[in-house]
Amino acid sequence: MSATAQPNVKNVWLGGVEPMKASYGKLMMWIFLVSDTFTFSALLVSYGLVRFSYPGYQGVVADFVSSPTYWPIPEKIFDAFPFFHGVALPLVFVGLMTFILIFSSVTMVLAVEAGHRMDRAGVEKYMLWTILGGLAFLGCQAWEWTHFIHGTDNGTVIKEIVNAEWVQRTIFGANLTENQYGPPAFADFFFFITGFHGTHVFSGVVLNFLIFYRAATGMYERRGHYEMVEKVGLYWHFVDLVWVFVFTFFYLV
């Protein structure tokens, strides 16, 4: 790290130095995150496209009922909470998930800070909290997906044409082709956006565990610096950042 300082170099872009004062690994993590930004933006922007191509719900918000003919109001769909069956708690569970992820971001940056001071015990402690936060978030997501897939008690009655005749039936929950909450595309985007984000959280937890293991076995202490904590920390904060956008554009707007 410090071996790269060369006072005689006139042009920093000719190689041998770090012109951006960031190591190769850290820089490449940033570039990777830019490309990942594009992937998530593509998913969220295509959600916007399809959302705008469907009519919204017209009428009083309190009387909202789900129908495949118009786009649902998210706060009316995501109002369940574990152990509070039948109680409408709009967005409370998503709020809890947001809090968990922001908090695990804080413990991650505290681990990075402990690494700067070569405080091995501090890195171990805060990495464990971060891993715990990640696992808690994944658990919440598993519960939310289960609820979304199985549906509400009463389901939604839909009419469709089967063999040139109108048939009425009730659908419960959602999959990629059927959705009790609104147009099938709404469920598709739910699965793909939160699923892709959940995959990132999962791989983040795996990376965090690897970092914790290596810190706990003293590998970074022997190496003389905790830069790996910083690199994986960048990834973990990015996962939190994506959730901030998903929270706004999928659940709030």
Binding site: W30, T37, G48, F52, V109, H237, V253
Partner: protein, 104 residues
């Protein structure tokens, strides 16, 4: 490296203070978002407020937690400039979605 962290003991405390301050800012903005979600009726203004608050949250996460605010200017622009494409894609596809709605 060994000599660097000896006299950074105080700087560390300051950094930790900044971390917790950022945490409270993020928490308060999220709480405000909840309050607005259930008090304002759906309107372009409400959407604009949400987008604005999201960008403020993103600024604190990227700037403080990811430390980008304290990096070299060239690094900051390397990360931020490509995001212009996202803004362009967003505007283009929003309009496209609107015209699909009109044609349906």
């Amino acid at each position: 490296m060994a000599t660097v962290h000896e006299h950074e003991e105080n700087a560390g405390a300051e950094q930790r203070k900044a971390i917790w301050r950022t945490f409270w800012i993020l928490l308060i903005i999220t709480a405000l978002e909840f309050a607005i979600a259930f008090t304002l009726h759906a309107s372009p203004l409400k959407t604009a407020i949400f987008v604005g608050m999201t960008i403020i949250k993103a600024f604190y996460i990227v700037g403080e937690f990811m430390h980008l605010k304290h990096e070299m200017k060239s690094l900051i622009w390397t990360i931020l400039l490509p995001c212009i494409f996202v803004v362009w894609l967003l505007l283009a596809l929003m309009m496209e979605g609107g015209s699909i709605f009109d044609l349906r």
